[in-house]
Symmetry: D2
Subunit: 322 residues, 4 copies
C-alpha cells in the first residue's frame, strides 16, 4: 500500500462507483439485480456431481465472537442456544401430561455473529444508505428500507470460488495482505474461470483456517486480516458481480488503508454506494479442498438469508452445489 486513502479519495470513489437509481428509485437490493433468470438456469447446469458443500461455520459458543481483539464487540456475542424443553424433561416424565415428548429451543443471536450476509441497510455513507435512502430509515424498529427480507427470493446464481493464496502459491495470506484486482485476475486465470455479470464470488484468504488450526479466534473479529484492497472497488464495479464473500470477519484488509478517522473505507463504498451485498465469515476450507481436487471452481450457489423483517444482516448456510 503506497499511501493512505483520504476522505477525498472516498468522495471520488463514491462518485465513480455510485449505482444509485440504476434499478429504479425504489430498488432495495442493489447488485443482486444483476443475476438474471438465464444466469440461474445456467448456474443449475453446473450441478454435475450432486455434491453439496456448506460454507457455514456451525453457530455456537465456539464461534469467533468474544475473542481477544482491539476492536470493540459492540454487542456481538456468539449465538446463545437455549432449550425450552428437553429430552431430560421427557425422561423425567414431566411432559407426559401433554401427550407428546418433545424438545424445543431458542436462540439469542446477533445477526452478524457468524457466517452471514451484510444487508444493504448495514452501512451508511454520510446520511445515506443504498440507493440514496435516508439513513434514518434504519431506526430502533429496524430497517424500513433495504431490510434483508427484501432478498428472500435472491441469493441464487453461479458461484465462483477464488482461492487467492493457492493462485499465489501460498497456504494462506498473511494479516494485512491487501488483495488487489490483479490477484483476483490471477486466481481466475489459475483456475480457468471467467467472472460474469451476476456471479456470486467467494474469495479465500486462508485466515479462518489459520484460526481453526490454532484453536483460537484471537485477533479475528476486527483485528488485522488479509482482505480486499480499496482498489478492488474498480474490479467489483467492472465485473458487475451480484455479491462478494470471504472467509474473514470483514472482507476488507486490516489494518485499514485510510487516514485517521476512516474505518473500513471499502465498506463505505461497497454497500451504500454500489449496493453490493457482502458475505462474511464464510467457511471455505471444504470447498477449497474440493475445488483443488476436481479443478472446478464454479458451481450453483444458493445462500438464502433468513427473512427477518427490517434486519440489516442475516446468518446463512451458503451451499455450493456442484
Amino acid at each position: 500500500m503506497a499511501r493512505k486513502f483520504t476522505r477525498q479519495d472516498l468522495r471520488d470513489a463514491a462518485e465513480k462507483y455510485k449505482n444509485w437509481g440504476k434499478w429504479g428509485a425504489n430498488d432495495e437490493i442493489g447488485t443482486l439485480n444483476y443475476t438474471t433468470p438465464e444466469d440461474i438456469v445456467a448456474a443449475a447446469r453446473l450441478v454435475r456431481q450432486g455434491k453439496v458443500i456448506s460454507l457455514a461455520l456451525n453457530f455456537d459458543q465456539h464461534g469467533p465472537q468474544g475473542a481477544k481483539t482491539a476492536y470493540p464487540a459492540l454487542g456481538r456475542i456468539n449465538p446463545l442456544h437455549v432449550m425450552l424443553r428437553t429430552g431430560t424433561d421427557a425422561y423425567s416424565g414431566v411432559l407426559d401430561h401433554r401427550g407428546i415428548r418433545a424438545a424445543d429451543d431458542m436462540v439469542v443471536m446477533p445477526l452478524q455473529c457468524g457466517t452471514q450476509w451484510d444487508g444493504l441497510g448495514h452501512v451508511f455513507y454520510e446520511n445515506f444508505m443504498w440507493n440514496g435512502y435516508d439513513c434514518r430509515e434504519v431506526t430502533s424498529f429496524g430497517a424500513q428500507k433495504c431490510g434483508i427480507e427484501k432478498t428472500k427470493n435472491k441469493m441464487v446464481g453461479r458461484g465462483v470460488f477464488l482461492d487467492v493464496p493457492r493462485a499465489l502459491g501460498r497456504e494462506a495470506l498473511e494479516d494485512g495482505y491487501a488483495i488487489a484486482s490483479a490477484d483476483l485476475e490471477q486466481a481466475c486465470k489459475a483456475e480457468g474461470v471467467t467472472i460474469k455479470r451476476g456471479d456470486y464470488v467467494i474469495v479465500r484468504t486462508g485466515q479462518m483456517e489459520r484460526c481453526l488450526a490454532a484453536k483460537s479466534w484471537d485477533g479475528y473479529p476486527g483485528g488485522d486480516a488479509p482482505g480486499f484492497s480499496f482498489e478492488t472497488l474498480e474490479w467489483i464495479h467492472r465485473t458487475e458481480i451480484a455479491a462478494i464473500a470471504s472467509d474473514t470477519w470483514g472482507c476488507e484488509v486490516r489494518p485499514i488503508e485510510t487516514e485517521a478517522g476512516i474505518n473500513q473505507p471499502w465498506h463505505w463504498i461497497t454497500i451504500p454506494i454500489m449496493g453490493i451485498t457482502m458475505g462474511e465469515i464464510f467457511y471455505v476450507a471444504d470447498l477449497a479442498r474440493d475445488c483443488a481436487h476436481d479443478k472446478v471452481y464454479e458451481f450453483m450457489f444458493v445462500a438464502p438469508a433468513i427473512p427477518i423483517t427490517g434486519a440489516v444482516g442475516s446468518p446463512t448456510n451458503p451451499l455450493a452445489i456442484k
Copy 2:
C-alpha cells in the same frame, strides 16, 4: 376418521415403520439419506425458467406465535428483532468517532416460531429419539445427537408440491380435514407428477392463506387444522421421501385422531421412528399460484437449516427454483 387410534396402534406403527439402523448405528439424519447425488443432479435439471420462489414467511412480530389458541405456547414467541446500532445513531453523529457509520442487529427467536425444520432431536418415542438414541442426549445443553447442524450439507433435492385442496376442487381444506394417502395420490395424478425416493414433498392445505386473508392467526398455533392423517405414515414409508412439509403449524391433522393422553401421534412415528425431517409453517401461496399457472409441480428445492449446534429445529428460507 372411523375410530380413535390407541397406544397399541402407535406401538404397531412404530414396529412397522421403524427405520432405526437403516443407515448405520451412527446415523443422525434419517431419511435425508434417501436423496442421492444423482437425485440432486436431476433436481438441478428442473431449473428451466430461472425463477426463485421463497416458501418462508417473514420473521417478525406479525408471525403466528402469540395468537389465541387453546394450546400452550410453551415459550414460543414471535421473533424479537432488536437493533444494536442504527441509522439514527449515524444521523446523530454518535458513531463517527468509530470511523464508520453502520447498523447492526440481533434476534431472539424460538427455532420453531416461523417457517422451520423440525430436526430429529425434536420428538421422542418413549425414552428414545431417532435411530434409537437415548432421549437424554437432548439436555439443557442441546442435542448431543441429531442436532440440526448435522443436516448442513443436506436439504437439496427435487421438490414436489402437492396442492391437495386444488386437486380436490376446493379453495382450502377445512380445519380437522385428515389428508389421506388417497388425497396425496389424487394430487399427484391431477398434477401429473410421480413421487420418487429422496424427494422433498411440500403439501398445501390452504390454512395459512385463510389466516393471512383474515389477518389473524387465531387458532393457527396448535389449534384445529387440516393435516396429515395417521394413515399417511404408510404412504410416507412406501414413497421413501426425504422430507415432508406443509403450510400448517404442525403438519398433522387436529383435532388429533387418538385416544386421550396421546397428542400428535403422527409426530410420535415420523420423527423418532422413521427419521423424517419435517417442515412446518411453510408459506406456499406464491408457489401454488405459480404451479397452477405453469402446471409444473416439480422443481429444485434448496432449504438449508441454519446449523445451530445442538438445535432441535431451525428457521429456514426454503427456495423452490424452477
Copy 3:
C-alpha cells in the same frame, strides 16, 4: 377536563417546573436528591410491626404485555424465563460428570415490562433529557447520562400510600379519570398523612385490581386508564417528592389531555423537565388492604433498581416495610 392542553401549555409548564441545574450541572438523578439522610433515618423509624409488603407483580408470561390494546407494544414482551440447566437434567444423570447437580436460568426482559422504575433517560423534551443533557446521550449503546445505575444507592425513604379511590368512596377509579391535585390532597386528609419533601408517593387507582379480577390485561398496556392529570405537575413540584408511582401502565390519565400530536404530556414534563423518577405497574392490592386495616399509610420504602449500566428503566421489587 375543560380543554385540551396545547404545545404552548407544555412550553409554559416546562418553563415553570424546570429543575435543571438545581443539583448542579452534573446531576443525573433529579428529585431523588430531595431525600436526605435524616429522611431515611426517620423512614426507618416507621418500621413498627416488622411487616414487609412487596409491591411487585411476579415477572412471567402472565404479565400485562401482549394484551390487546390500540397502543403498539414496541418490543415490550412479557419476561421470557428460560432454563440453562434443570432438575430434570439432574434426575437424568447428565450433570453428574460435573460433580454437582444444579439448575440455572436466564431471562429476556424488556426493562419496563412489569413493576418498574422509569429512569431519567426514558423520556426527552425536544432534544433534551433531564438536566439539559443532549438526548443523543441515549444511543444504541445505552444512556451515557442518567442511566438507572446512577440510582443504585437511592430508592430508600419514607413511602406514603395514597388510596385515591378509597378516599373518594369508590372501589376503583374508572378509565379516563384524571386524578387532580385536590384528589391527592383529599386522600392525604382522609388518611391523616402529610406529604413531605423527599417522600416516595405511591398512588392507587384500582385499575390493576380490576384487570386481575377480570383475569385479562386487555386495554391495560397503553389503553384508557385512570391517572394523574396534567394539573398534578403543580402538586408534584410544590411537594418536592422524590418519586411517584402508580398501579397503572403509565401513571398519567388516558385518553390524553392534549391536542393531537402530543402523547403523554405529563411524561414530557415529569421526567426530563422535573427530573422525577416514576414507578409504574406497581401492585398495590396487598398494601391497600393492609393500610385500610391498620390505618397507617406511611412506611419505610425500599425499592432498589437493578443497576444495569446505561439502562433507562429497571424492574424492581418495591418493598413497603411497616
Copy 4:
C-alpha cells in the same frame, strides 16, 4: 485442609444439618423463615445515619462472565443490554409521529451473572431439592417449587458484615483459603458483633477487589478462590442465620475440599439440605471502607430478589442501610 471430604462425609453432613420439614411440608423459603417481625423492627433501628450503601456490581459487559477460567460458563454471559428505542431516534425525528420522545430497553441476562441470590431451586442433593421436593419440580418450564418469587416479601433483616481478611490482619484472603468457623468468630470478635438468629451475614474475602484492581476477572468465575470451608456448615447451622453472602463467584473455597467427582460440596448441603439462600458476587468494597471507618458492622439489610416466577436465582441490588 487436612483431608479430602468423601461422599460419606456429605451423607453425614446431610443427615446432621437437614432442616427439611422444620417449617412445614409446604415451605419453600427455608432459613429465610428465621427472621421474625421483631428482628425486622430491630434491624430498622440500626438506621442511624441515613446512609445507603449498594452491594451490587453494575450489570454490564464488564462483569465477571466470559473471563478466562477452567470452569465452563454453561451459558452464563454478562448481561446484554439492548435498546428498543433511543435518544438518537428522538433526535432523528423518527419518533415524533408517536407524540412522545422516549427511549426503551431490554436485557438478556442469566440470573446468576452478577450480584445475585441463589434460590432454593438452584442446587439438588441427589434427586431432591430443599424440603425434600423432587428435583423434577425444576423443569424447562422453571421451578414449580422454591421459585425465587416465593421470597418476594423477604430479604429484609439485620445485616452483619464480617470482614475476615481485616480481622486476620490482611488485605485479602488468597485463593484457596478455606474460611473456618474460627475465622468467622474472630471477625465477630474483632468487630464487636454477635450473630443472631435470622441475620443476613455478608462475608468479605477481598477477592473481588483484587480482580477490580487488576482490571481482569480472569480466574474469578469458577476458578480458585478463598471461601467457606465445608466445616462452616456447623457454624451456619448453629447460628441459624437467614442467609449468607460473599464477594466471590461461588461462596465456598476453591479448589474444592472433596475427593474426585464431587464439586462444590458446601453447596450440596447449604441449599438443598439446610435451605439457606446464598448471595454471590456481592460488591463489598464500599461497605468495607465504611465499616472500617465508623466501626459499625451491623445495619439494616434490604436485598429484594426480582420475583421472576419459577426462577432459581435472581439479580439483586442489596442495600446496607446504616
